[in-house]
Symmetry: C2
Subunit: 468 residues, 2 copies
């Protein structure tokens, strides 16, 4: 992408951040031109690393003046292409925003967007506090990206997603204005909830520079079990049954057979025997402060599971075993992707509909000639579908798969679900948005975008279908 007056713009940017934080070399641009979405690379014209809210504000004013796209960039672990500079312009890496300020008295923290999620979790844990949202990429994704995509993860089933922890946000609006969207309070009924409008808006409505997060007191114990099912659909059925028995597990993860097999080959140091006839696993965790209660809950869960066709349950006895199981679960996404060219979908339905969704996905795959590996956060009905190219021809991959994906999303919506549970729409799913929303509804969202960003310079080309 070429901007005729780029030299003038670069001079202005350098005046704002200093030369050391402005990069136009090919290598840096390509580095910031990709995230974890398939193999896309859309380099920004310039990579800028601002250090303060004021600098971000000045850059937005400049970008408005010259009509230059700006794409906020976090940990680049996104799976929907939200951080791709598809129209070039300024790639605004927030990586210098790494402060954490813990307010133990109020069980809150003010955290800057580039703090890595796992770092944040560990820092608050040292104070006896707990930040539950736990995306599989927590070792490299950032809190800012989590807010932008409303990330979830394994603990969402009991503790909610990122949006449930965001109390307030400092935001640089596309026009350069800076606002605090709400207040640092647990309750708020004061005007429109711009905080929650900003969460999950994928960097299209504003640039988040500070986040006030709610924290919980930490839990001391958990019990983790891996349950092999001889029928994958029964594993899905068991998910709803556990809740109906009155248990709210802290994690309830589903993995198809292939997901585990491929992952065990992909990662080092984890092995386990899996019966030939096993089709799927549930990884189930309960947590709390009273170990005897957790054992009692685990017992209730096993009672529920006995009505299904399962192999022997593996209880993780030690921290090492627990870590190994979680390492395996977290690596599934990467393992599946390392295996083949792929497309990843992030379907979500009411949890009881999971068996219908899984069955439908396989039927659609058969119809269009692709196979898929499914896994994900079954406790909240969130099923990741990895469509693998395997030995499909390039032509089939280009023509048949998109038809199949459209049918999968149509099925999802017909089950009262939607396109994305936690990855966002970004670049790769935007042309499926008509399945979930009417044209008028999309237009309303787009008008909100226009209200915040009249020149459409902030992360343009995301969320909305090309033909809207």
């Amino acid at each position: 992408m070429f901007y005729s007056n780029m030299n003038i713009i670069l001079k202005h940017i350098e005046a704002i951040t200093g030369k050391n934080f402005v990069f136009t070399d090919e290598e840096t641009r390509r580095q910031y031109g990709h995230d974890e979405t398939e193999d896309y690379n859309f380099p920004p014209t310039v990579v800028v690393k601002p250090g303060t809210t004021e600098e971000v504000s000045a850059i937005m004013k400049l970008a408005n003046q010259y009509n230059i796209p700006v794409v906020p960039i976090g940990g680049r672990t996104g799976l929907s292409g939200g951080a791709l500079s598809i129209h070039g312009g300024i790639g605004l890496s927030m990586e210098r925003f790494t402060k954490i300020e813990i307010d133990e008295r109020n069980l809150q923290a003010i955290v800057e967007p580039a703090v890595v999620t796992q770092v944040f979790q560990e820092v608050v844990l040292e104070k006896g506090l707990f930040y539950p949202p736990d995306p599989s990429s927590r070792g490299s994704c950032t809190i800012g990206g989590n807010v932008a995509e409303n990330a979830g993860g394994a603990r969402a089933v009991k503790y909610g997603v990122t949006k449930d922890y965001v109390l307030n946000l400092e935001v640089v609006l596309p026009t350069g204005e800076v606002i605090w969207a709400g207040a640092n309070t647990l309750k708020n009924a004061t005007g429109y909830n711009l905080t929650q409008l900003m969460v999950g808006s994928e960097g299209t409505l504003g640039i988040i520079t500070k986040i006030v997060m709610k924290l919980l007191p930490k839990n001391n114990h958990n019990v983790l079990m891996l349950v092999p099912f001889f029928k994958a659909e029964q594993a899905c059925e068991a998910v709803a049954a556990i809740f109906r028995a009155g248990i709210v597990p802290s994690a309830l993860e589903f993995m198809e057979r292939d997901a585990i097999d491929w992952t065990l080959r992909y990662i080092d140091g984890v092995s386990m025997p899996i019966g030939d006839a096993v089709q799927a696993h549930l990884l189930i965790e309960v947590d709390g402060n009273y170990l005897d209660v957790l054992f009692s809950e685990a017992e209730k869960i096993t009672e529920v599971l006995e009505s299904f066709d399962i192999d022997e349950i593996l209880f993780a006895d030690t921290e090492d075993q627990k870590n190994a199981l979680w390492k395996m679960r977290r690596a599934v996404g990467e393992a599946v992707k390392s295996n083949s060219v792929y497309k990843e979908e992030d379907t979500v339905v009411p949890r009881y509909e999971l068996p219908a969704l899984l069955k439908g996905i396989k039927e659609i795959g058969n119809k269009y000639g692709f196979s898929s590996v499914c896994y994900g956060h079954a406790g909240d009905g969130n099923l990741h579908v990895n469509i693998v190219k395997g030995n499909m021809t390039d032509e089939q991959w280009q023509t048949e798969v998109p038809k199949g994906i459209r049918e999968i999303f149509e099925l999802t919506v017909s089950l009262k679900g939607t396109l994305s549970g936690e990855h966002g729409i970004g670049f790769v799913q935007k042309n499926f948005m008509d399945i979930a929303f009417s044209n008028q509804h999309l237009q309303l969202m787009k008008n909100i975008k226009h209200l915040f960003d009249p020149n459409n310079i902030l992360n343009p080309g995301k969320i909305f279908p090309d033909n809207l």
Copy 2:
């Protein structure tokens, strides 16, 4: 309020709903012209009781055509005047929307807006399910009103407020279009979160016709204790200390001495001895499925409380005692109001700031010559401030009290809190909004309003300051 072509409009409305659901008599209009906000009465020109979403849509189209204000009306228990027809027009009572459809398989319910909150709680409880939001007015407020104001109540401290249970909404937009704002899923990262934009928008962005609510498995046990403090500020300090000890109570309510005294005189059948030197009480509840755990948590709480200057703790031993304590707590608002002309504020701050807030409120009262009775949901920093007229002159009441209220809100905001935790801004607090938000920020909210409601016919004159 007079509309020149009202007769034509009435004919049209009658054609939509049938004559039996259209009322222009003075008595009905006055009945629907007030809620529980001070002694205001703003009757609509006509009261209409639609029966279906389609009828609501047709009425909105008509109202747009003739530029008539429409005010959605629920249980009329609001405390900020959100349901007052301050510009006359159509008072749209949603009272015929009373269906409840429980989806036990997914732990969800589709509930219509006129369902009384307590009715909803009881109906789901019969199925072993739990809807936590629990406003003090739960016996007469409606779910639709709860969503409109983002109502909270005593259990919010552990379980969150109304917004945390709303998964999806069927909404009639001011233009008459009908949308489902989101999906029936626990997670959603698909476009802008219009569901959460709608929650708490006080009936200014759309008319809610169906609500998809998340439910929890019910709890079997709770332990309730009433703790008398010799110093009111210590009661506030104890609130944060309990959380810092790792306990998340299911309720943590604060009542000043006057609040309890006045309430015990106001309600029948509840009495208790209160030491002369007692200044305030905390009502503390823990809940769960394991009684021994609750006793252990109660013990930890009493250990925390021992470091404060308290009188003897009263444990509620029986269901009757628990009901009596809750009856008392729920009646505080009404009791205080029955005692004097009053103004009620709904301040909210980070919970550790409660002692500073309480101290400041009393100082501001002294400065402007008013007394106040404070009580509320201290666990989430939400302090209701009832300013009582007592023996102030009318002139003092008119001139001094608003200055004091402004200072109270300025204090609240300086403590990182805001104007309203759960009552909304509505009619009575709108001219204080400049304290919490910059002019640009308010203009952004107002532009969102304009986007949804270009003719400004839906609940006009609410939320935004008159001079914006």
